[in-house]
């Protein structure tokens, strides 16, 4: 195995680990979405990229390359829709919140 793809694998799993620690530690749902979406998406993208580097321009490598933008769009749009949905559902933000502009728009 190529050493560069091993390095990408280890980086990816480490970022997944950070994301899941954030999922447990952070106080409310919006902050959890922040950590989880960013870290886990980049970690998994890095794992897929390592597959592309290991197999090169073969069908498997190209499929791994196609999966990266799909995963990216799926994660960002999912995070956006989930945060909007949970605000409308009425889930409170944490006590440390210092400013909320969306409440005025939502009252109308």
């Amino acid at each position: 195995m190529n050493s560069f793809s091993i390095a990408l694998l280890i980086i990816g799993v480490t970022f997944d680990l950070f994301g899941c620690i954030g999922l447990i530690r952070l106080p409310d749902i919006y902050n959890r979405l922040q950590s989880a979406t960013k870290c886990v998406t980049l970690g998994t993208c890095s794992i897929l990229l390592s597959l592309f580097i290991h197999y090169g321009f073969t069908p498997v490598g190209i499929k791994a390359l196609i999966a990266i933008p799909l995963l990216f769009f799926a994660a960002t749009v999912g995070a956006h829709a989930l945060s909007r949905g949970s605000y409308i559902y009425g889930i409170k933000m944490t006590d440390k919140t210092i400013r909320d502009d969306y409440k005025k728009e939502f009252k109308k």
Partner: protein, 161 residues
Amino acid sequence: MKYITLFICMLLLWLLLTFNLHSANIIIGIVASLVVMMLFGNKFFKDWQKFYNPLRYLWGIVYLIFFIWECLKANFDVAYRVLSPKMPIKPGILKVKCTLKSDIAKTFLANSITMTPGTITVDVIDNHLFVHWIYVSSQDPNVYTKKIAGRFEKLLKKVFE
């Protein structure tokens, strides 16, 4: 015309997905793209001319490199906030004005904001984005608009408008 654009995109995606150039594979790909074109063509992007402008792809590559750099910064930022024992968070939802006009550019701005340091787009209403920020460093509208949206808008205007 947007039907033909969808057809070309789907054929390219099929050829990448199967990755061989046998004649049987190409014929099945053309049939499959025709089926997709018939079923989903009327909902595809109306401004199809943008697909045939090579300059946009060039700016797209520049944007991609810039975006990957921002994305890496975002990850180290979140990792720092998660791992430090005091958890330095000061969250809030801010109203950010964006100067982009077209819908597709707004969509990509929202997606880019979601992947950059400490911000996530909650809603898009007309010309305003509602952004959840994990560490609100300043409450002045000019400063935070420039900090959140300003760095992408110039490039996105060249790519999508």
